[in-house]
């Protein structure tokens, strides 16, 4: 096994992206993702790639659009307010079927919000990053190791399905250090015959485009894309299950809040409460299969998030009314404590015991 090193989440992610073959990074400073761009500025040139600080997040995502159109692995990173600005370019990438990786190291919102960790961009990432009918694949790491592993995977997913992939992290994961094993660098990258690299008289000209003035043609592209999305839903749902098999109560939490939830689950188990945890790894496609199966066995579900209640809507859709779905969250950059999360579990346990439901 390769040696473990101690790295900040932002830096480990950046290093893993380079090892995944990303040679084009376009950024713009914003807390709490700045170390990511700084790391790229230091390393990308030495790796034979391009680091460029764009004039805005809007320009940065459009530079990704250009580099990706040229067939290269390209990435941009930002935090919540900056992701809003990238929404336009992400929509164009989806419309032009361009791969690319977007990192959101989330902070509290709305507006300028704060700079402390948050998960309040769940809706933005999974529902409407930009205008139009489209999805991103959204991966939610919960450790520094996963920051590296998921970004490494993200580039493959993006190329395989020709669509943008987002890593939805947060300020805590970006700023913290943990031991991490870095992946071996990729040496072979997929061919991209659709890329605009100059036709050299050897093929018809390639066009990267999202404009279809005939509604029938535009609808056809939408239908094709959603057929692809169905294949992704079937093949790419990922979730981690912890102590779920005998659980009366299943906690659902992703990213940073899943770590707190896991601590709370352990404490609850010590008190004899049968509780488990499902941690969605893919937020889109949402792991409806894992959560649906849990809803068949458990008596109640508790969703824990660092926002006012966003993923809970997907959980309720997956549970489909079979068992009650409660929500506990903290917002504005506050990380919920294991103690208060345990209290939320205990409230549900008490109501189940009291036969209140």
């Amino acid at each position: 096994m390769t040696e473990k090193v101690l790295m900040k989440g932002n830096e480990a992610l950046a290093e893993a992206a380079i090892r995944a073959g990303c040679r084009f990074f376009f950024g713009y400073p914003i807390t709490p993702q700045t170390e990511l761009a700084a790391y790229m500025a230091k390393r990308m040139g030495k790796a034979g790639g391009v680091y460029l600080q764009a004039e805005s997040e809007i320009a940065a995502i459009n530079m990704v659009y250009g580099a990706s159109a040229a067939g290269k692995r390209a990435m941009t990173s930002s935090s919540s307010p900056g992701i809003s600005l990238k929404g336009e370019g992400i929509s164009y990438m989806a419309g032009a079927d361009l791969p690319g990786v977007i990192i959101n190291v989330q902070r509290g919102g709305p507006g300028l919000g704060g700079i402390q960790p948050s998960q309040s961009d769940y809706f933005q990432a999974t529902r409407a990053t930009g205008h139009g009918d489209f999805h991103l694949i959204v991966l939610a790491p919960s450790t520094v190791q996963e920051m590296t592993d998921y970004v490494f995977r993200a580039f493959d997913l993006a190329d395989e399905y020709r669509m943008p992939v987002m890593i939805l992290a947060d300020g805590m994961l970006g700023q913290m250090m943990e031991p991490v094993v870095l992946p071996e660098p990729k040496t072979e990258l997929p061919e991209k015959p659709w890329a605009v690299t100059g036709h050299r008289g050897e093929r018809p000209h390639n066009v990267v485009n999202s404009l279809y003035l005939k509604p029938e043609e535009l609808e056809d592209t939408n239908i094709e894309r959603f057929e692809r999305y169905e294949r992704i839903k079937a093949a790419e749902q990922r979730a981690e299950e912890y102590l779920v098999d005998d659980a009366d109560i299943v906690v659902v939490a992703f990213g940073a809040s899943s770590r707190i939830a896991r601590s709370a689950v352990n404490k609850a188990r010590e008190k004899g409460i049968k509780v488990g945890l499902i941690r969605p790894i893919t937020l889109w496609p949402f792991p409806v299969n894992a959560i649906g199966a849990a809803a068949d066995r458990a008596k109640a579900i508790l969703t824990v998030e660092m926002n006012m209640g966003q993923m809970v809507e997907d959980v309720r859709l997956a549970v489909c009314g079979r068992v009650p779905v409660e929500f506990f969250g903290r917002a504005g950059g506050i990380i919920p404590t294991p103690v208060e999360t345990l209290a939320a579990i205990e409230r549900i346990a008490a109501s189940l015991e009291g036969g209140a439901r």
């Binding site: 101690l6 402390q116 805590m172 913290m176 250090m177 943990e178 031991p179 770590r259 352990n266 404590t337």
Partner: protein, 196 residues
Amino acid sequence: MAPTVNILLAGFGGQGILFAGKLIAYAGLIEKRELSWLPSYGPEMRGGTANCSVCLSDEPIGSPLVLEPDVLVAMNQPSLDKFADAVVPGGKIIVDSTMCQRLPERDDVDIFPVPSTQLAEDNGLKGLASVILVGKLLREIGFCDPRALDEAIAKSVPPKKAHLLPKNRKAFEIGMLNEDGESVPVCSLPDDWAVE
């Protein structure tokens, strides 16, 4: 096997709080333990309080944010006042007593005042008060083998500042040998331990 320990280090920006946390984290890495290091970040760091959560364990770390520390290392009065009550009963508080005049009035925790800023000044180790406190911390709770911490120091001092390595080691030794607080050391310097 060393126990799980949740450490909170707090002080002014520039006192070496994050560096001290890094030393502890690296020691954990060297001993192949589970660990996390989480700094406070943002404008509050600029001239304000800086703090840093470090968790060492043999189980995967849940929340890396230490709200109820087993050990508090406080390097100024506002940090001590802010976090002293959060320390778990039976926990320990290590205080830079050069910077803190008022000690917490708790009898359910062990409090170890060390005049680390003064000690650093007296020994030509300006800026290394936090490393002295790491030495004291190791003496009092033995969270790792001292050799691991020595290696951590070697890893953490950047090559550009290699000349500071002996000073860091000396600061650590001063902390390790500090007997204030009447507690029995849980570890002692290994035979092959040498300063400079």
